[in-house]
């Protein structure tokens, strides 16, 4: 055994403590979230058949504009639009925004829906690339197509927000697959608390492995691909636990770009989606919080646990890695842009709970955890740390992780039961255990890569090549 200098030992213990305490903070947050999510699920309003929802809400439901951005979607565009037009909702306009596609997306639409150029008086409040033309169909009065110059997803949505006239808009991704009654379900908070609710998010589920027919999920099944399976557990954790709990605390900081319902007027007031960020969906919600807090108006941003939208997750490592790095960059950009809100009493629970969560889970978490992967075992093996430290470290990285994942599955099974077969549950439980060994570490490395990209961009080295919406 080497005789270490006392200061070296102190340093090693300090490092171990930092790793353990950040880990504990994260786990503490997760456990609190689990409790809140459970309370929220137990108290959620009845989930009714859609025919009953229609009877109850259709007369009161405010008009919604569904904003569907499209960039080079010639293959799927007609099917997607048909599927949107057949959504169950009393008053809805479908606004397709062709974001300067270089393929025949626009021609395809014109052809299929017998579109004709129209004039329409629209708002110019939020900024976006020029609109080249508007098209409508005499046959389908609630369809409008905007043809504009390329500017990316935020830019396309901004154009849609300007042109839409409904008091609410629903933003979706080009590859979002909506449930038929998604709008009817998601609009409920707007009807029940019309004077307070400004935005609503819903659960996004992964369609990998399920049967999809003409833009609808017709049968829920688990994928065979391990990466896709892990992401199913991840999505449950993100939506069923984190977002549901944060919305219960009224500190929800993200509404997924795949499906979100917003009060149009307020989004105009905050200038719409921001340009030049990759986390525009998160940033919009933060801007809304900031705006309402600064105006000192009571408001609510809600989340409904029912699944409203399906999306395809990447099944290969490279694409998934890129996606995760981008997500990380997005949260960091938003965090830094609005850092003055952190622990600022002016922003109340958003500053403390919302931003505190981003700080612990997104900003500090990955860096310290990855440092821990290397340092703690190393320091232990050279005799600088006792076995207690190693075990505590293992508890934080592995066993607590298993607990949180499995507990989310329990919540799902007790409250929602959306997985049809009992064997699905077994598979998911196994995945919830296994993901802690390997996948979790990998995803933290991806996040570090996102941090690196973010730092490079801050230095002005990054280049902006993004044109399409990167469905990955």
């Amino acid at each position: 055994m080497i005789e270490w200098q006392p200061w070296v030992i102190t340093m090693a213990t300090t490092i171990a403590w930092v790793v353990i305490i950040t880990g504990l903070l994260q786990i503490g947050l997760y456990i609190v979230q689990l409790v809140y999510a459970a309370i929220s699920l137990a108290n959620r309003p009845p989930v009714s058949r859609s025919s009953l929802l229609w009877q109850r809400y259709s007369d009161r439901a405010p008009p919604i504009a569904v904003l569907a951005p499209a960039f080079n979607e010639v293959v799927t565009i007609v099917e997607s639009v048909n599927s949107l037009l057949s959504l169950q909702y009393p008053q809805m306009e479908v606004v397709v925004i062709n974001d300067g596609s270089t393929d025949e997306t626009l021609e395809r639409l014109i052809d299929q829906f017998a579109l004709q150029p129209v004039d329409r008086y629209y708002d110019l409040t939020v900024r976006h690339a020029p609109i080249r033309g508007l098209y409508a169909s005499p046959r389908i009065p609630n369809l409008l197509v905007i043809d504009k110059e390329n500017g990316g997803k935020s830019d396309a949505l901004n154009a849609g927000i300007n042109v839409a006239r409904s008091p609410l808009f629903c933003s979706i991704d080009a590859d979002s697959i909506l449930e038929s009654d998604a709008l009817l379900r998601a609009v409920r908070p707007f009807i029940e608390k019309p004077d307070e609710v400004i935005a609503v998010g819903g659960t996004i589920r992964l369609a990998n492995g399920s049967d999809i027919h003409a833009g609808r999920v017709t049968r829920v099944r688990l994928p065979r691909n391990f990466l896709a399976l892990v992401q199913i557990v991840e999505y449950l954790r993100a939506f069923l636990m984190a977002r549901l709990a944060l919305s219960r605390m009224q500190a929800l900081t993200v509404i997924s770009g795949a499906f979100g319902l917003f009060r149009r007027r307020l989004v105009l007031e905050v200038g719409g989606y921001s340009h030049g960020t990759v986390g525009e969906d998160m940033e919009l919600v933060i801007k809304l919080h900031r705006h309402m807090r600064e105006q000192e108006k009571p408001y609510r941003i809600e989340f409904i646990p029912e699944p409203v939208c399906w999306t395809e997750a990447p099944g290969d490592l490279t694409i998934l890695g890129r996606q995760r790095a981008r997500w990380q960059r997005g949260s960091l950009e938003t965090f830094v842009k609005h850092k003055d809100m952190l622990f600022n009493p002016r922003y109340g629970r958003i500053g403390f709970l919302g931003f505190g969560q981003i700080l612990v889970v997104d900003v500090l978490g990955p860096v310290i955890e990855v440092a821990g992967y290397i340092l703690v075992p190393l320091l232990w093996s050279v005799g600088l740390l006792s076995i207690e430290y190693l075990l505590a470290y293992l508890a934080i990285t592995f066993t607590f992780g298993i607990f949180v994942s499995v507990a989310t599955l329990i919540l799902e099974e007790v409250e929602l039961r959306r997985f049809p077969k009992p064997t699905d549950l077994i598979v998911l439980t196994v995945v919830a255990i296994v993901e802690n060994f390997g996948y979790r570490q990998l995803s933290n490395f991806w996040r570090l890569r996102g941090l690196w990209q973010f730092l490079r961009k801050q230095q002005g080295w990054g280049q902006m090549t993004r044109r399409g919406f990167q469905r990955a």
Binding site: R49, Q55, N82, S180
Partner: protein
Amino acid sequence: MSTPVRVLVCDDDPLLLELLEFRLAAKGFDVQAARDGGEAMQLLESKPPSAVVLDAMMPFIDGYEVLRRIRENPTLKALPVIMLTARKQEKDIVGALELGASDFLAKPFIPEELVARLIRLTGPAQ
């Protein structure tokens, strides 16, 4: 005895289909059921019925689109179509009739009334 009148019932609610099948079969109709617009179009083309009861809100191809395709199809053009739908605002009723619906019933509905209206359009069930 003549062959029973065949009616295609198209709705995405399985319970409503069951109810209609039960009620219409009891009146002597030969009932075919379709769960969505796509299935309805297939059945319409493979063995054309004598009348259609059509929901408006269905996945894939909605009822209005099915109706439009029926009216554009030379062999189906004159087919009696009753819209049976929860969309019952003024513009929905007018819209359906303008598209060529033969009749319009709002949900929740009175099964007796549906039967009476069907018989008015097709003649007695047998």
